[in-house]
Structures are given as structure tokens and as C-alpha cells.
Amino acid sequence: MAAMATMVAAGCGGVWCRARQRCARWPGPGSRPFLRAQRAVVCNARGGAVSAGKSGLAPWIPVVGLEIHAQISSNSKLFSGSRVQFAAPPNSLVSFFDASLPGTLPVLNRRCVEAAVMTALALNCRINKKSLFDRKHYFYADLPAGYQITQQRVPIAVNGSLSYSLCIDNKMSQMVTKTVRIKQIQLEQDSGKSLHDDTRSQTFVDLNRAGVGLMELVMEPDMCCGEEAAAAVRELQLILQTLGSSQAVMAEGQLRVDANVSVHHPGEPYGVRTEVKNINSIRFLAKAVDYEIQRQIQELGNGGTILNETRAFDSKLGCTVPMRDKEGKQDYRFMPEPNLPPLILYDAKSLPANMNHQQVINIDWIHERLPDLPSVKREKLVEQYGILPEHSFTLLSEDGLAEFFESVVKQTQMKPKKVIGWILNDLLSYLKQHSLTVKESPVSSFLLADLLNLLEKKEISSTAAKRVLAELWKGEGKTPLETVKEHKLELLQDQKELEQICQAVIDGQENEVMAIKAGNRKVLNKLIGLVQKKTQGRSNPVLVKQLLEKKLSE
């Protein structure tokens, strides 16, 4: 085989030879097109083409592909009428079908199909109007039937894309948009949960989760580092939550991500990949991917080889370890699910005339009712309020923050461009410090708008406003005005009094006055500061500056 390859290589420049090597080394699901290995995958964020350092070897290009399982948000399961609920008494949400008792048959849940169609449309996929169900066989205690009903041959949707934004070099001001291709989306059943009791050599099985509808999203290996993977998953999470097709909370297992990682030299075929599982948060996803990339580079740099294996991410140690339970390659013996006819979806053109509406799923009808996706919402915020894209990005990353912002803008005369600073710098940092969500904020949009109005009307200075906000944060129920009066934070409105104070400061700072008159304008700030001190922050700095300048020029 090798000899033949060398012979051919001599004839056609080695390119064909490499393609054959690649196919042998990457037994992935489905075939990968020939040209993929030659496309340079360059990461703009940190950790892109990783150089091997002083040894002068060629740099390594990491390749990351994700397989994501999103639990469909529905009342009942994919093929049975038992309830979908997190944390219920063991085996209480299990029907006879879920327990795989003989004589039971699967009945498809309409809502699950609609959720998959919505997701596919949001991700620009081509929807297969006819898709098929298959059985994937393997033995495990939490899979009572011995097989999982999935869609292997013809899934419900293929060939989509997901666009996400990434900050370059940690600066929020520079954001790039990247795209990852979606290979396919398929409907499948979830398995039950196993709790291992190693001391007594037994496993406890809870089938509450068995049969819950999942959408499996397979992404092409278009990413090259942990940061990209994390950003892509975060965007997907926002999209799913906006659509309502999945609540996508990773901590509750509603969004599960497996990462396929490999490294190779530029121009060479893809390396052997490993699959990383047991990733429980977006932060850990980035860590796990980056660790695995480094581990592979080190291993290969030391002359070792990478095994095509499954590894688990240990969040405590921050590393990946081999998973012992998965031995060798699995042969799933896929076969068509004999109890389910093909799933047919319709659009406006192909809608059958005489069918019961409840039995028909119209793709166009669903498309018309899709809500605005996060990317569209962001653009609208930028356009409507004149804020920067990165501000808009942050607004949508926090649940409820965009609505809070819009509510404040409605209730205040302050310009949105100024309001956004208060929302992102002040409110958000308070929330983060105290680990609160927007909904739990002790300062309501009404209170904040009230405060900003005082500032806008120049009744208080911005320093005073920050103090008031700190007081409001205590949640004692006082209004901004009450707080201002209580702490005597109002701006001095009496011009004469202000002039007197300015004069007093000038009289007391001979050296500084001379420096200013000599041309050093910066020293003026010191004088302004002194006036502020004397007035206990109750003077308008702009006005003070004007007064001082007027007096100094006399």
C-alpha cells in the first residue's frame, strides 16, 4: 500500500498520496471532501497557528469540530406522552414505551419536529422535506431498548451555517464575525441516566430522561481554538433560547457539547482526532479544547502518537483523561426504524389540500413566525439607539439587559449613547459583583431612569450620581431624589456662592495660579479639584472651569 502510494506520488506531486493517508487516519462520520485538508484554517484570536518554538519546526494548525446535543423544550417526550422535567423522583416520568416494554410503539411529537424546523431555519439549513428515522444499536444500562431512534441516513436538515462574533486580542472594541458550517441537524432520543456505585459494583438507572427529544447539531471542523468554540456555542445558545426550541442551559444538561480535536502541519492532511466529553460549561469548553490542543502538540512534538480515542474533561484538574469505558470502535449496526414511516414536511407550494391541519407541518408558516435572531436584534439596537456594536453584543449576552436598557431610554431624556455607559459600566458591574441576574436587580429601570433624569437636568453632578446609585443599590426603597436630599448631593445652584468659593481657591493657591498664567493649563484641573472638594462634590465641573478661567484672565 505504501509502495503504491509512493509510486503515485512521484507521478502527481504527492497530493493524491496525502489524500489517501488522510482518509485512512480519520474514520469520522461520513466522508470529508478532499479539498478540506488543504484549506489553511487560520485563527485570528489567540492560539491560532501555534508555532513550535525555537526548534524551527513547522507550526501546528489545530482543528476543532463540535457535536452538540440540545434538549428540545417540550411538555412531553419525542415518541411518548410522558413529561419532560428536570429533577423529578426517579422513574416517575417514564411510560411503558420509555421503559421499552414489549408491545409499545413510538408516536412522534409534533412540537419536537417544529422545534427542529425552527432551529434549522435559523441556522440557514436546507430542510429535507422527507427525512427518515433509524435505529442505532448499542448496549448500555440506560438504553433499555438496546437502540436509540435517530436520523442517520436522511436527517431533517443539512448544510447550514452559524455566524458568531469574537473579540480580537481581548479588546471589546475589535470584533470579528466568523462562520462555522453546520453539517446536519437530526432528531433523536435521549438516554436515561446512570449513577455509578463503584464501591458496590453496581449502577443505578433512572429513565426519566430516556426518550426526551434531542436535536443533534453536527458542525464541520471549521474552528481552531477554545475561544472560537466557546463563542460559537454561546451564540447557538442565544439563538436556541430566542427561538424557544431549547432552553439550552448547560448546567442542567439541556445543552451538551462534545469536541473533536486534532492538529496538523500546514499543507498536510488532518491529524488523528480525539473526542472530548464531559464538558459542563462554556468556560470549560474553551479550557478543554485548548488543553487538548496543547496536549496533542506536546505529544507529537515528543515523537509520540495520538490515539483515536474518547477523553473526558476533568474540570478540577483542568485536563483531559482517557475514558476507559469506550473500548475500540463501536459498530452501531444502523437499520431503518421499521415502526415509523418517513417524516414529510410541507411548504406553501406543496401543502396538501385535504389533510387535517394538525397533521401537517408547513415550513413556510414556521418561517414567517420566527422571532428576530440575536444578530438581527443587535443590528437593530445599533441602528435605533446609535450605540456601538460591542455594546449591543454585551446587551444581548445578559438575559434581560437589552430590555432593561430600552426601558430606561424610554423613561429618560438622556441620550441612549450616554445611558449605555450607565448600563454597561455601572449597573452591569454591580450585578456581576453580586452574582445577580438583571431580573434580580435591586435598582429597577424606573429608578435608574429617574436618577439619570436628575443628572440630565444638571441637578446633580455625575460623581454625585454614582454615589446615589451606590445608595440605591442597597435596595432600601428610597427614590433618587430622596437619596440626593438625604446626603446633600445637589449641585450648588447659587452662582454667587460658587464664585466666592472659586475666588477663595484662587487666593489660596498662588503657585498654581502663576503656573496657569505662565501657560500651564493642566494645573487648572487641580484648582477645579480643590473647588470640588470644598463644595463636597456639589459643583458642576464645567461651570467651575468657566468661572476659574474667567477669574484668572481678569
Binding site: S76, G81, N91, L93, R110, P341, L343
Partner: protein, 155 residues
């Protein structure tokens, strides 16, 4: 050509006669009659199923071929099924379900089942606090060659 009619014949272990194929609707292969394979062990090409394949099958399907007689029956079954290759299926879409023309019924998303923990657990040999109890992980099977029954039968 519908595959299902062979099911009966496979179980009976009989050789496929030329008749049944032409009875089918559509009459797509009216001109072609599958031939019965030549009789007699001397003319039959028996492909030996390797031990690796047997082990693989046992692990995948959890069947037990038990002894050489079981393995031989498997080999004969494979040989019998290989006759399918003699049928010309050019331009014919494979059928993978008798339900292909039926409508897939869509159920409303209502909770109608569940809450039968007690009934379900009654079927289990061992339970602990409303959990089913299973052995740990996947226990590896004993290798085929080490099984006593296999060794006995292979003399």
C-alpha cells in the same frame, strides 16, 4: 423485488425455487428467474466465517453460537442469503419500510403518560430506592476460543 417473501424460506432453510419471484406485482423481473444454487458440498463454495467476525457478532448482538454446528448453520444461512445478489436490481429504489406510503402520525405535545413508577419497578429483579439496579458498565465477554462449548464442538 420484494425481499420479505424470502423470510419464510430462510427460516425453513430451504433452497429458493424459481417460482415465487415471478408472482410479484409489477412483474419487473418477468424475464429473469433466479437459479437454484448447485447441489452437493463439492460444488458449493463455503466461505469460512473467521473467529474475529464471530466474536464481533457475539459482542454486538449478544448471541451465543455455542459450538461448531451453530457456526456452520450461520455459514449456510449466509450462503443462502447470498443468492440475493443474483437478482438484478438496477434502477430499483430499495424499500426499507412497508410503511413508506403511510402518513406519519403527529401527536400533540400533551402529557398523557408516566407516573407509574411502582408498576415499572415490579418488573425489575433488583431495585434500590426507586432506581433500577444494573451491573457496572459493560462487562467484556469471554473470548470465543476460550469458551468450553466451542472447543468441544470443533473436534
Amino acid at each position: 423485488m420484494r425481499v420479505l417473501s424470502l423470510g419464510r424460506w430462510l427460516r425453513a432453510g430451504l433452497v429458493l425455487p424459481g417460482g415465487p419471484a415471478s408472482r410479484h406485482s409489477g412483474d419487473r423481473h418477468s424475464g429473469h428467474r433466479p437459479q437454484a444454487p448447485p447441489q452437493g458440498p463439492a460444488q458449493v463454495l463455503l466461505q469460512k466465517v473467521s473467529v474475529e467476525v464471530l466474536e464481533h457478532l457475539e459482542q454486538l448482538a449478544l448471541v451465543d453460537f455455542r459450538d461448531s454446528e451453530g457456526v456452520e448453520r450461520l455459514q449456510k444461512a449466509i450462503q443462502f442469503a447470498d443468492q440475493l445478489h443474483e437478482v438484478n436490481t438496477d434502477g430499483v429504489e430499495p424499500m426499507d419500510s412497508v410503511l413508506e406510503d403511510r402518513c406519519l402520525y403527529l401527536r400533540e405535545d400533551d402529557v398523557t403518560e408516566g407516573n407509574c413508577t411502582k408498576e415499572l419497578l415490579e418488573n425489575a429483579r433488583e431495585t434500590v430506592e426507586e432506581y433500577f439496579v444494573a451491573p457496572p458498565g459493560n462487562i467484556p465477554l469471554v473470548k470465543l476460543e476460550e469458551q468450553k462449548t466451542y472447543l468441544q464442538g470443533s473436534k
